[in-house]
Structures are given as C-alpha cells and as structure tokens.
C-alpha cells in the first residue's frame, strides 16, 4: 500500500513541514479489508481504506492542516472529493460522507480507534441509509404564464372587462385593482396547491424528506422563474421510477417546472452529531 510514497506538489511541500500526520476523511463504509483505491483523491493523493472490524474509513494521508478555501484549486478539489465518494459508493454501496476539508490529526491508528469507539452508531447509520440515496427536488413556476392561465379560467374575467370598460375612470381603476389582487391571490393559491401536492408525493415515497431554505443555487435555465419548493429526500433505489413518474406529472403542468437531481451521497441525512461533539 502506497501510503507514504505520495508525490507532493510545490505548494504541498511548503505546507507539509509537519509531515503527513493527518488523515483527510472522505467517508465511512461497510467493508472489512484494507484496499488501495489509487491516486484519485484531492490533489491526486492516494486514497486508501483504514478498516476496523467490518467498518472502514476512506482516507488519504496529508499534513494536519486544512486546504485553503480561497485557493484557485478549491473547486477542482471539491470535484475530486466528490469523485472519491462516487467511487466508494460504487464499490461499497452506502457511504457516510464527510464534508470537504475534514482532517483527523493523527495516524491510521487514530482513525481505527475512532471507528472502533463509535462502531455501533456508525453501523446504525449505515444500515439506516442502506440502499438509499439523496435526491434534490425543486419546483419552479413561471408566474406570468400562471397569471394568464388563472385569468382565462376565471369566469368573471370577461364580465369584469366589460364592467371596467363601461365604468368611470376612478371606478374602473378600483375595479381593475381589485381584479388584479384577485388574480394574484388565485396564483398564490395555485402555487401553494401544486407545491403541496409535490411535497406530499415526495414525502410519501421517501424514507426521509427535508424542506430546504432558499440559499442553494438556481441554475441558469430557471433564472427567470421563481422557486417555490426546494426539497431534499432520501429515497430507496427501487422507488426512483415511482418518484420520477410523480414528478413528471407536475412537470407537465402549465406554468411549472420540476428539477430533479441526484443521486448524491446522503449528505443531508447523516445523524452523527452526538458522537462528533
């Protein structure tokens, strides 16, 4: 196993005065044998497994200092981290993923001791998540299209236009304003209804579901639309087709678009706080 023989870049050499007495953590998996995954890690580091019983941590050896977040290479490193998680998922099934830049001070023995000490909780989490992956489901709406649709459906629209045409200027203004508010309200209710329908579908198919806040990114193709629901769900691999069909139905509704992405390692559903603090 090529744990020590890692070629360092110039930048690494400058920052490695403390030697490779740190272990960068990618994931914990169900596996009982040490295995070398090759130089697929962050900065092409050699990724390998530290086993303890039937658990193993996927790591690379590094200096016990974090990667610079402002460095130009950070996005490349994030992609490399993600790639290692993908490889681990293919090889071992479910993984407990670590976030970027989590480093243990110590040797393989430190990692092994930590695995051993927390074996039951780590195993519980892995079995809880087994066979499931994380997906993101976002609902976007085109409010203009929705307004037009709602106005056409509203039976009062034609009568209302006639009334406005025949009314005095002041009265016409007030009626028009009232009518606009009515349409706006109807649009809000339609959005709410569809968002609820989608949320209920996702909840019923998922093992777990979370309603996310508004901070995550909006892809370019949806920039002109408004995001009205943002869900993260943990779904059994066998139920993805069912979820896709349910979302397809909503995606075909006038004025709405669904964005369905995944599978991801279960970043949002690992519950290990109690053993980390």
């Amino acid at each position: 196993m090529n744990r020590g023989g890692i070629s360092l870049t110039a930048a690494d050499e400058m920052g490695s005065s403390q030697g490779d007495d740190g272990r960068y953590l990618y994931a914990v998996v169900l596996a009982s044998e040490a295995k070398d995954l090759g130089e697929i890690g962050v900065d092409k580091r050699c990724v390998y497994m530290v086993p303890s019983g039937n658990l193993a941590a996927v790591v690379h050896a590094c200096p016990p200092s974090p990667y610079d977040l402002k460095a130009e290479a950070v996005h490349e490193r994030v992609l490399e981290h993600s790639y290692v998680l993908d490889v681990a998922t293919v090889l071992f099934g479910t993984v407990l993923p670590f976030s970027f830049n989590v480093i243990v001070r110590g040797s393989d023995q430190t990692v092994e001791d930590w695995l051993s000490k927390n074996r039951s909780q780590l195993r519980d989490q892995l079995f809880r998540l087994k066979g499931h992956s994380e997906y993101s489901v976002q609902l976007y709406c085109d409010e203009e299209a929705l307004r037009t649709r709602v106005a056409i459906i509203d039976e009062d629209t034609v009568d209302q236009n006639k009334v406005i045409e025949n009314a005095t200027r002041g009265s016409a203004y007030l009626r028009k304003r009232g009518f606009e508010l009515k349409i706006k309200d109807a649009v809000s209710m339609e959005i709410s209804k569809v968002a609820d329908e989608m949320t209920n579908h996702v909840r019923s198919i998922s093992l777990e579901m979370k309603v996310e806040g508004g901070s995550s990114s909006v892809p370019e193709q949806y920039k002109k639309m408004r995001r009205v629901a943002n869900l993260t769900c943990l779904v059994d691999a066998d139920k993805i087709g069912m979820l896709g069909s349910a979302l397809d139905h909503i995606n075909h509704m006038d004025g709405f678009s669904v964005r369905f992405s995944g599978p991801w390692a279960p970043f949002s559903f690992v519950r290990l706080k109690e053993i980390m603090q």
């Binding site: 740190g22 953590l25 994030v78 976030s99 989590v102 995550s216 370019e220």
Partner: protein
C-alpha cells in the same frame, strides 16, 4: 422524469461545503482524547451568499455575483442562528387589509417576517413576549377546497402587546421548533 447529475458545480459545493456531512461541527473536536480537526465549513461558509462574501466564486459565476450584489443590501440582519425559516404571510389590518408575504425567520430570541422586495421588516417579535398560539379555522371558500387540510394554517400569536396573525404552511415544524426553545407557557394550539 429521471434524476440528473450534470448539475452546476455550485450544486456540488452546496452539498460538500454548505451542508457538510459528518464531523463538520467544530474547529477542533476531541473524541475519546483523540484530537480531531473537523474544519467547519459550516462556520466559514454558512450559505452560498457567504461563499460569495469570501470570494470563493470570484471567477466562476458572474451573474450570481451580480444577483447577490443587487440584493445584499436587502438582507435582514440575522440575530443568532436561524432555527426555522419559511415563506409566510402577515395579516395587515391597518392601511391595507390583506396578507403581506415575506419570509418568516425564527431564531432563539425573535420571530421576524422579512419582505425582500421592497425590503421591509414586516414583523419583529421577541420570543420571550409570546403568551400563546392559537390556530384559526379559515372558512373562506378557497380554504374549503379539497386540499384545505394541507393548506397554510392561520395562527394568532398572542403576545404581551397584542396579537399578530400569520399564515404559514409548515406550521407543525414551526411549532415544534418554537416548542424546543423550552417555553412551556406556549400551550399546544387548538
């Protein structure tokens, strides 16, 4: 439809940096005497907006930066960690009768409803001033539709200086988080 993986890099960053997964809680964590460095990007990077603050996306997404610049002055000043947030409405009974939309934030100390555009703090209520919550039955026609049971709930929050009326879809979660703040005097809504 099938899930897609060819998502923008920011999606990946959102997961790997912002959400974090395991061991992202503190700068230094000691487990059984073994010091671990769990470099908390949660602390450094709480959101995409913070990532932009840190210049992390400097060369990546011009439009995102412009969007952020145009909105940065409109952010409410957070007071403590946001424990719950959701789109909601506040009833305005003074100048204009109607529901005013905004984002409800619940922190350890306050409940606020912030309207982003035009920027306005619609409500700012100390949690300590809350006396009780009451769920209201909405009998307007639209609430009697098929999905009425799943629709937004109207809640009256009675506090020391009066009552505010809000409408919220994720009411149960709101109540659960509020209850967790150990305010036993907030009775379960009826």
């Amino acid at each position: 439809m099938r899930p897609e993986r060819d998502t923008p890099l920011v999606d990946l960053l959102d997961r790997l940096l912002v959400r974090g997964a395991v061991l992202s809680a503190d700068l230094i964590i000691t487990v059984g005497g073994v010091p671990l460095i769990g470099l908390s990007l949660r602390a450094l990077i709480a959101s995409m907006e913070t990532m932009l603050d840190y210049g992390l996306m400097e060369d990546w997404d011009k439009s995102t930066r412009e969007w952020y610049s145009s909105r940065s002055i409109q952010k409410p000043i957070p007071e403590g960690e946001v424990l719950f947030q959701s789109f909601g409405y506040l009833w305005s009974g003074s100048e204009i009768h109607g529901w005013r939309p905004g984002v409800l934030y619940l922190t350890e100390n306050r409940i606020v409803i912030w309207r982003r555009n035009p920027p306005d703090m619609l409500m700012d209520l100390p949690v300590s001033s809350i006396l009780c919550l009451e769920k209201e039955i909405d009998i307007s026609p639209r609430m009697l539709s098929d999905d009425a049971s799943e629709g937004p709930q109207i809640i009256n929050i009675k506090h020391r200086d009066g009552t505010v009326r809000i409408r919220l879809r994720e009411y149960d979660e709101f109540y659960r988080v509020l209850g967790r703040l150990s305010f036993p005097r907030i009775a379960a809504p009826t």
